[in-house]
Symmetry: C2
Subunit: 341 residues, 2 copies
Amino acid sequence: MSNWIMGGGPSNHIILSSRVRLARNLANTPFPLMLNKTSGADVIEKIYDEDTKNNIFKDYKFYDMQDTGFVDRYVLVERHLISPNLANHGSIGAALISQDEKVSIMLNEEDHIRIQTVLPGLQLKEAWTEASAIDDKIESKVDYAFDERLGYLTSCPTNVGTGLRASIMVHLPGLNISSNINKILNAVTQVGLTIRGIYGEGTEFIGNIFQISNQITLGRSEEETIDNLTGITEQIIDKEKEARSILLKSNKMLLEDRVWRAWGIMTNARSISGQESMKLLSEIRLGVDLGVLENIPISILNEIMVDTNNASLQKRIGTELNTPDRDIIRAEEIRKLLLQQ
Amino acid sequence: MSNWIMGGGPSNHIILSSRVRLARNLANTPFPLMLNKTSGADVIEKIYDEDTKNNIFKDYKFYDMQDTGFVDRYVLVERHLISPNLANHGSIGAALISQDEKVSIMLNEEDHIRIQTVLPGLQLKEAWTEASAIDDKIESKVDYAFDERLGYLTSCPTNVGTGLRASIMVHLPGLNISSNINKILNAVTQVGLTIRGIYGEGTEFIGNIFQISNQITLGRSEEETIDNLTGITEQIIDKEKEARSILLKSNKMLLEDRVWRAWGIMTNARSISGQESMKLLSEIRLGVDLGVLENIPISILNEIMVDTNNASLQKRIGTELNTPDRDIIRAEEIRKLLLQQ
């Protein structure tokens, strides 16, 4: 199981994970969009050759998208290891994923190289340090497209500069229940951050989970970006804690009732959609955080969040499933996971 | 616990109870509406004197409404032993209730005497036989108002004749889920029967429970009335069984999911309204009937139905409760009852 799913880390009752992504490209090489199968393979070969394979990427698993089936690709998406974009259009793409799933490197996605590091809880600095170290190792082997004035050159202008996107995955049920969520999200947007749903751009906000990340990559150093997001995250944590404590004080019983009902449905339903499961999971997570539900490790909740998605379910069962059957199997897996205690 | 609550009896998976009520009045005595405290007490004294107290009513508990508090009166209503009318306006009324709660006799309600017998399942004939025996015993002590041509005289003309109302309490979730309930209820009305909610006239249909009773008391013998209602009840049972079996064949999983979710909520909620509890109880009862839920005696479900109503809850707790607190205590009692297995 990957590290962040195991839970832990600072403020892990509110911050599920901290993620850093660096966009890099090889010098003097067309961006992936301009590459065909052969030139695409050349790029991968430059980064993933006999030398790096045995040294930098010794503990990494290599996935050539061409040889990876649809379900397997989507399992990686659901585990937040590759982007939906790579899974859907990755005819020349590949991915390198470290054994502990803390590091994943996409090759020939939008850029030649996208290094991602993920850690549980609020550990943006640590994730950045780790990403930076991998970046240095790769840079010692290949030449990056770099402009003295602009910084790292990327396929999309919004990444030019540091090529850094830092993001946190945050669970904000208190702010949602107390109807303060939009105020907070608006404030976050106004300070130049972006908010997305659990599976990135364009995905819905479900289960009170939000991904908050920096927008700006130009004219601001990596350290500034990380410090800025960390600071704002700490403010969000305070607001969420405050909202939870007010709810507990003003309507403890209502809150407990919500949590126990969610638990009752999740441990008894015989069919459950992914959407409903995310919604109930949020209530259960809140219940665990507030001590209403005891002896449920956060890792189980994270596991349900990632491993009962469509592709992961099909992978687990080993067969294609239609929607009604998927909902039945999902309910079964959720019961197994929650009641294993 | 009263007999019908214990469950059992023929067709008890669909018919909760069979009830027979006889309306009787003393000869040459004004109807209760015309009585004052003194003359009302005289009527009671005629029926409940030293002789009948030690013989006919030896195993009966006597409740003088004047001396019975509001909560205690309503506990009797919720257990279907007296009418809301007697509880609300019973300044001169009384009730005699047999130890096993199979027989209850209201005095000075709308009529001087209303004998009620209740048995579990479909046992209209047996309930009639029992009511008739008690009726004979009382008639051996007092003179009834009786007209050779009309029959028994009653306060309301709709009861004149046999003074008999026979009714069954029936649980029809299958017909409701399959949207056939209105068709059946219309048909029942067209053959001269009346349908009411669980607490009698004017009460809502909740939890898929209906009371069906004869309308006509004039020009039809007691035996005909009982046979007619029994015959129609048997047809309703067939229709409900058919609806359940079609549901099981066409959408077993959906049905199981409904049942398990209801179970999950009822065994976990920390606050629950009487209305929601009745709704969920219906799903659980269906689940027990269909073998989805095992080892849950019907008596527990009946107990929840009658003993977690507002007055019974307050009686159990021994203190007046406001609505939010009642919902909390109700949820607690329901969990205790369902999880005692």
